[in-house]
């Protein structure tokens, strides 16, 4: 035990200089790839606030919305790689959206991915009074001839809905024009669509028994319905969750990269920080730092490529 403790202290001491050495030479700007006011924006702003409180750095959040995060990505890649400009976005921008775009204007090599932050709670949702308990029930209903509409808020999720129908040899009328999971949820509640992708706002309704998560769209169990059917049960090997990620322009010096990654990972993990509390309330903590962050984006890219191939006519 004493050895373990000593080893831990040693490790801590040797690890410390790495981040203690680097301090920002000016204010750190976090470019947020989302419009002001939503959950992702709030998350980024709380992280900035926590970093300022924890490390005494001056962190300035700035919204650069548009093009599903690609506007932020293009602005960030041109910024100097000095640790004073960071970007907060979602993995979709760098995986599916990048591959589906005609000319995204950036590649994965243009960025140093620091750490993933949080994941969504993506599921296919329906009202409980429809009587379905899982997606297999819905597919059975569609096979029996019921005409069903499927709400979606991104091109990737529309492809996902199409892929589900294709693999199971049924037809859904995919309604793709919704802006955000909450809009899809509203449409489900108003009976405008029968089922739809929702990335988290369904939790309260599911807990109250008014809504049901028919299938889990994530690669880990959903907090509110851990026993929800997995996509593999309906023959789908893809996942559709989105992961928030913090990145910097490519070529960040090693000490700055370590210090920033540690700072972000520390504040979002630490009990009682504003960002930690917010993540636990709205999303789910998902921290993969350094090499693991880049590997996560690369894996999602490969999956997206496979999805695009599988849904191409």
């Amino acid at each position: 035990m004493r050895h373990l403790f000593a080893a831990a202290v040693c490790a801590a001491l040797t690890a410390m200089p790495a981040w203690a050495q680097w301090t920002p030479s000016g204010p750190i700007k976090i470019q947020i790839g989302f419009a002001a006011g939503g959950g992702a924006d709030t998350l980024a702003r709380l992280i900035a606030e926590d970093m300022a409180a924890e490390y005494g750095w001056n962190v300035i959040p700035e919204n650069l919305a548009g093009g599903g995060g690609s506007v932020m990505a293009r602005a960030l890649m041109d910024a100097p790689a000095d640790g004073l400009t960071l970007g907060m976005g979602v993995t979709d921008t760098f995986a599916y959206d990048r591959l589906a775009a005609k000319d995204p204007g950036f590649t994965l090599d243009d960025f140093d991915f620091l750490t993933t932050i949080a994941g969504t709670q993506m599921g296919v949702v329906a009202k409980a009074d429809r009587g379905w308990t899982n997606l297999s029930d819905v597919i059975a209903a569609a096979k029996a001839g019921e005409e069903l509409s499927f709400g979606s808020m991104t091109a990737r999720l529309s492809d996902g809905a199409y892929y589900i129908s294709k693999v199971n040899d049924v037809n859904f009328n995919i309604v793709s024009g919704y802006k955000g999971g909450r809009a899809v949820l509203n449409a489900i509640i108003a009976d405008d669509v029968d089922i739809g992708w929702v990335a988290g706002p369904q939790a309260k309704g599911v807990a109250a028994g008014d809504l049901v998560n028919l299938v889990n769209g994530e690669d880990q169990p959903l907090k509110v319905s851990p026993d929800a059917e997995m996509l593999s049960a309906v023959g789908v090997d893809f996942f559709f969750g989105a992961t928030f990620i913090m990145m910097a322009p490519d070529g960040l010096p090693e000490d700055a990269r370590t210090a920033l990654t540690d700072a972000i990972a520390t504040v979002i993990r630490k009990d009682g920080t504003k960002s930690n509390e917010f993540i636990n309330r709205v999303f789910v903590l998902k921290v993969k730092s350094g090499e693991d962050a880049a590997a996560y984006v690369a894996k999602e890219s490969a999956d997206s490529e496979a999805l695009l191939e599988a849904t191409a006519n």
């Binding site: 419009a35 002001a36 006011g37 709030t42 702003r45 700035e62 919204n63 919305a65 548009g66 093009g67 599903g68 690609s70 506007v71 293009r74 602005a75 959206d97 589906a100 775009a101 005609k102 005409e147 509409s149 091109a155 037809n171 009328n173 995919i174 309604v175 793709s176 024009g177 919704y178 509203n186 449409a187 509640i189 108003a190 009976d191 405008d192 669509v193 706002p201 309260k204 309704g205 109250a208 008014d210 504003k274 509390e277 309330r281």
Partner: protein
Amino acid sequence: MGVWDYVLAGIAEAFLANPALMLGPVVISWAVLMVISGFFAGVIIGATPGLSGPFGMAMALPILISAFGFTPDALLPVMGFLVGIMKGATVGGAVPAILFNTPGTPDAFMTTLDGYPMARKGQGGKALRVAQFSSVSGDTFSDLVLFTCAPFLAITIEKFLGLPEKAALMVLSLSFVAAVVGKHPAKGILAASFGFVVASIGTGTDSYPRLTLGMDQLASGFPTIAVFVGVLIVGEIFSSLDLLWRNGLGSKDLPSGDLGDKTLSWKERRVLMPFIGTSMVVGTVVGALPGIGSTLAAALGYTAGRKMHKGEVPFGEGAPEGIAATEAANSAVSGSNLIPALSLGIPGNVAAVFIILAADTIGGFNPGPAVFKFSTETVNTELVIAFGLFTLMMTANIVNWCTGASFMRLLGGLIRIPAQILLPSVLLLTLTSTYVQVGSMFGIYVTLGFGIIGYIMRIAAIPILPMVIAFILAEPLENAVRNAFEASGSDPWFILQSPIGLTFLALSAVMLAMSGRLQERNKNIVSTNKDQAP
């Protein structure tokens, strides 16, 4: 618990829980304190050219959450402050519209048509008083409808309106533009088409944004606030500066410092009542329908008032009835707009989005059908909160009834500022508030660009309102049609599938057919620049 027990519990929750101040036996709760301060903050926000209620709410929400935290005790103070801002900004919005001819929001645009001529005749004080009286009447009526109908109305409406019916409803709303095109239908159609073009930039569902010419700044479209502020306020400032320059500083054709008679007698109120009554019903109905909004309500209220009006001063030349018809309609939207927000969790407008966001973030209150379950065995705490919120809304209305008039008088003092000082100050304030909201210089360039467009439209006597309404309705219309089409399994006749949809379409046709007659009888109402045409 019975219905009355819930109402009483709600009132107690608003007034007694979470006390902030104790003045002897009098307890003032945080909730009441916040709703009152929200109201006054809202009046000032609304009265500042370029600032709007939703912006004030967006700015306040993170600060409020940070101050009150995530406990259930935070719900009423936070939502109370937001509701206060919403109500205050509705009243305050009339101030710059009447005094300076610069409407802070598109809703207040119709207020300028009679308000500004009144101010120029030295009746600015009375105009403000009329605006406040009509606004608070419309608001209070709409709230009463909310309190009584929230449990069932939205659910009934949603039952009848599927996606195809919603698309047809949007077509119907758009056809109302025909009623406001002014005396030259061709110019009106030109303005509306321009609104559509501007709205289509950067929107759509393709991953490659539409019509941006590769400019990243346009990827999420022109910032809405910059477009409105540019066309409505900056365009007006340019045109006033032009007028000032032509006429010379001495002989300026702008309001005198005198506010004139600032009171509103009972007799005058009686004359206004039919207009207020009609408009508040129009506003409440529009507010309860999904996705139409207060600008159209104001336009419809004004049009209805214009048809009813038989007084000496015609609409558009300084008739108090015109202000009453507009303000009662746009204020009556706010209460009924919360009907779908509270009973289904679906926001009817931007302001309601922030109330839902606050409830979502804090927790303990989930707007949705469960809120209005009058459970007798267990206490439905959400229903208590809902009645607490209603109590706070009524508190804000009472504050508005009691103090709104004096607040208006106070702000009316602004009219004494000479135009050569006022116009540049308003311009600076407008550009600053746009910059704060958009967050980059791009917002300023867009505002100035649309200011020039607004100025040219005024010179060419092209009506502004059709452009503004088309710009507002374009995106919901496109989304509704697209979603309905997709949900129907790509059926080209999707919109003709139900009797309700057909009825809406038939009404649109009637509206278009009648607009010719409307225009003939009431010429030249909406064209804004007739007062300033050189």
